[in-house]
Point group: D3
Chain length 245, copies 6
Amino acid sequence: MRIAVVNPNTSVDMTADIAASARAAASPGTEILPLTAAFGARAIDCTVESLISAVAVMDLLSTTAETFDAVVLAGYGEHGREGVQELVDVPVLDIAECSAHVAMMIGRRYGVVTTLQRSVAAIEDRLLLAGVAAHCSGVRATGLGTADLDSDPARTVAAVVEQARLAVERDGAEVVCLGCGGMAGLDTTVSEQVGVPVVDGVRAGVRIAEALVGMGLRTSKVGAYAPPAGNPMTAWPLSRHLARP
Amino acid sequence: MRIAVVNPNTSVDMTADIAASARAAASPGTEILPLTAAFGARAIDCTVESLISAVAVMDLLSTTAETFDAVVLAGYGEHGREGVQELVDVPVLDIAECSAHVAMMIGRRYGVVTTLQRSVAAIEDRLLLAGVAAHCSGVRATGLGTADLDSDPARTVAAVVEQARLAVERDGAEVVCLGCGGMAGLDTTVSEQVGVPVVDGVRAGVRIAEALVGMGLRTSKVGAYAPPAGNPMTAWPLSRHLARP
Amino acid sequence: MRIAVVNPNTSVDMTADIAASARAAASPGTEILPLTAAFGARAIDCTVESLISAVAVMDLLSTTAETFDAVVLAGYGEHGREGVQELVDVPVLDIAECSAHVAMMIGRRYGVVTTLQRSVAAIEDRLLLAGVAAHCSGVRATGLGTADLDSDPARTVAAVVEQARLAVERDGAEVVCLGCGGMAGLDTTVSEQVGVPVVDGVRAGVRIAEALVGMGLRTSKVGAYAPPAGNPMTAWPLSRHLARP
Amino acid sequence: MRIAVVNPNTSVDMTADIAASARAAASPGTEILPLTAAFGARAIDCTVESLISAVAVMDLLSTTAETFDAVVLAGYGEHGREGVQELVDVPVLDIAECSAHVAMMIGRRYGVVTTLQRSVAAIEDRLLLAGVAAHCSGVRATGLGTADLDSDPARTVAAVVEQARLAVERDGAEVVCLGCGGMAGLDTTVSEQVGVPVVDGVRAGVRIAEALVGMGLRTSKVGAYAPPAGNPMTAWPLSRHLARP
Amino acid sequence: MRIAVVNPNTSVDMTADIAASARAAASPGTEILPLTAAFGARAIDCTVESLISAVAVMDLLSTTAETFDAVVLAGYGEHGREGVQELVDVPVLDIAECSAHVAMMIGRRYGVVTTLQRSVAAIEDRLLLAGVAAHCSGVRATGLGTADLDSDPARTVAAVVEQARLAVERDGAEVVCLGCGGMAGLDTTVSEQVGVPVVDGVRAGVRIAEALVGMGLRTSKVGAYAPPAGNPMTAWPLSRHLARP
Amino acid sequence: MRIAVVNPNTSVDMTADIAASARAAASPGTEILPLTAAFGARAIDCTVESLISAVAVMDLLSTTAETFDAVVLAGYGEHGREGVQELVDVPVLDIAECSAHVAMMIGRRYGVVTTLQRSVAAIEDRLLLAGVAAHCSGVRATGLGTADLDSDPARTVAAVVEQARLAVERDGAEVVCLGCGGMAGLDTTVSEQVGVPVVDGVRAGVRIAEALVGMGLRTSKVGAYAPPAGNPMTAWPLSRHLARP
């Protein structure tokens, strides 16, 4: 089985981290195909950057010669999952949504700990649209931007642990989701310090993708995720029209 | 990995069917441990039978000498998942809830096709409590009781296909969940005839259980699913006190 | 008129307290028939104990030779009301739900004060399923287990008053429901100290039962609460099969 | 015990009918005090008429020399309950809300059958504000205005039965509420023909009022229903300033 | 274009303030027709006063010889908008609802700052019925009654700023609505001090009324807002029957 | 005042139609600045096309030398409004959302009539995220794609009228919104034939934009719509990097 794990930003360093995390999470026999957005932002911390990333991801999946059995979208709260579901018919897992599904199966309420306060809205909107908001106890921000997470790992852990604890103590969370692809790998540490299960989105995405493929399930094509309408396009795929992509 | 798959009714024939379905669904290396309720109803079609089954399942899991890495509860819309989560700390998957989670990842709205009209309420309540009701397009009944499903397989398929089609055409379902453990194995046939992905709860439960175990996740114990309170009990476990169990 | 008031736990002392409270609440001419679960926990503080109690109550009502015009279920947040409604056709009042209905008629928002934090989830779930969650301002825990309530009455009153006050001042409750059958009789004291109406579930259950009987109403049997499905049962009623019940 | 039963319209004939229905419903020892709005519409079928009736009822209760232990507001979907709760501190029961509470205790979902299509919105709004909309399967109209109900009783019964049947068969209602004070007395007939319990609002209001008084409960005065603010008023009570009331 | 701006209370001083605010907000060519309730309360701080004001406003609009192209109801959280929509077919804007619509178009969540705590419920109910509650972050009270707002302007500004700041910092509001007609004119000051857009209801009502009239839109008459039912009325319009209005 | 009206697709013919409609709707003194997406689809009928259009619109507004006082986004159910709100601080009106706000002010429930069945989901999602779903009676599809609307105007009118009528008669809509920018100009015809007010999104967007600008309001910048995060970008703005844009 081969799972495309897509980093929606343009940072190849982050792609490498995500790929490592995905490989560590995968079952034996599962191959991870890491992909990186060819244009857009190096880190995604607002709607403008998120929407561009969605298009970059769709461009990537429209143009790649690679084949895969499932797609994991490694942006947390980013746009684009519905579009990718139109483009491919293998299962597509958004890590924010997938984390929520996993969390709901091991606890009554889950909280999310993310980066900046402004990302809270994007994640809330994604969970609402995915139909998994009812059991979310809240989304909390550490105040650290995506690009800051790596610069001082100890500070990052401390900030995530602090908000995870508040999620449990004040909001009633019983499980905590790490609300940024860049937090991959912190789950064990945070879980030990806070005393609740912690869900890493990339790990969840990979394992759930394996499960769906194992069940022989594909994205439904009878409704919202039917193949694209095929209206005439200008400059699409964009990557093929960029002077220097 | 060893997954306990629990039939909440007392029919060993149904346990055999469920076990076969679970084994067919499992990954290589996963062992299925089928378990059958020691008391209660031979098929479950009402709340009285459901509540007794919940206690029978808890009794079973409290008294078994077997070990396992996850539990799949193979009743659709039955009570008891929260109680089992108190008793064990491995992941516990209710097939009705698990089917809904899986369906939501491959389609925008899902429908459920179950047995009798009176079971609709029980399933609606379970989905509501599990926080996955928002994307349910509705629960439809075939009019066949659980015990009738096996008696005339062709009729059963026809009835499920008819309601599945209505779920898609009238209710807007993009995925259909088979709303009874006794419908295990019909997913391929129904999917082919209706043209949408169909989720078999036992298959979903087994594969998602594998995924959660693979991620190293366990049920959160800080809140609603902490170990039982331990008040003094009379005649518990019931199976140890029954004259002839 | 004769009202069965059922204590879902096995403590005959608590049954006596509940019966006294019910008799004090009843109109002249109403007879109270106190019943006690024959098996299960002596106090109910988790889902395992709650589900067993539901079955014990159903067993009791299936086997009793007594007749009655209504049933009051004196557990707060316990399972089983829907099952009992299948078994009998007289009105069945769960005290948690009944308290909420009464509270909503005398104030815009109501709060619940219960025993342990872990019981909050069970009560929230019950109110949600009963369709009365929209006006609940929250469920608060005193931190005292059901069995602790009687051991130090002054401490119990102080703890209930403290949480009731917070329900009013922080959560916006205008009425407070006593969230445990074991708090019966505290309503006047708490009301005087907090300055809002306080609803005692047993009193509410008895008086509302009288009202429903007086209107000639019975549980609807056309849908969810039709008589049990009648599938073949093993060891049911359990009480008849217990070696020493 | 003395219960004021207030007809919000000016028809003394309808007051007499309502009073008869209330007296038939009351327990021995309960006295019914019928009151009639002194100004406004002879029947209430729109928001303009409803709002005037609310003021007429408040005027009546501000000026009457009578005393009473509870108030039953016999308009279905009319405005004013919250205002009356400010004016008095005895329990105040709106029959639309009270019917819903009663219905929810004897069935999983309830439907309402009312007069004109345009009244559906008013009733939906009232149920939403009262926090009891979640279990309402829908409000259906017979097409007969309030004033038409008496003119041809057989036609009225047939129209109510038809819509009640649709509420059960199409909407999933298990209990039907008669959605107009003018339908008082039809409950037995409709119930027999449709096969589900039918709730008459005036009967429900009287019996529930007795229950609340019996519990010693009064309207909470700490929040929304505190006594009126007491700003200086012009021409209030209006009845005292009307040239010929 | 001529817009009737209706002060629901009887204070001609407040009418003058509202009219000045409306004129300052209006486009060139828009004429403001200020109207004052002929009976009822001089300031509106409870449901009794609100319901009387609704009837006074309907009376006024039923009896005035003036013509107008739209109506702005300048009470915040008062009753009556639906009734006025029955009476006239020009657009009718309630300032609480209109403020919410405007706020939702310029920010993701909005908060309301009103007068007394007891008015919070009335405003919450109005926003719920208008279908705009989902994005309301909360309604906060300054503790100042409507009649107190003018007595010490500096204190009023300070109190509104304090609550507006809490709405932003604690509740997540991105826009603040001034929740009382008597706060007209404070928007610029509060916005400068708090750093978020502030919506003045009268200004919003006038400008949105202009927009609707400019689009040629009128209130829909096919459903809830059809003309009044026309049942026979006693003493209506009340103003024509008052001994001295 | 100058309002940018942005056609999110690349069809300059459709831009001309939209501009004509916007100019007809605008007040005297309002200048309309029509803008057309430089890349992406010629008509937008799926999520892939919608997301690309969102980026094309953001690109356009990031690179234009024009100035404007407000932005109207003339795609119905398209992505991007939140991103544009980050980029500019003048008011930004999405026509789907704006139509809903306008409709809610002139009727109790509104319906939407759009193009293809697959667009229903996109519009539902947009209304849900905008907080205006509660009063939507449903979104109906004519079955005509965006590009088909112009090819046979009589067929288009007939199809829209048919669905509008069903929205009113079956779903309870009191107002109908034209759910596609390409339906601009049909409002009068449809309204006359169906008998309810009909809202044209472009007209609504322009007039509401004028109103917001007239009130001096701008998009709140303290939360979700703060300026973009400014992470380093590759190939942005895309239009500057396209070989031939």
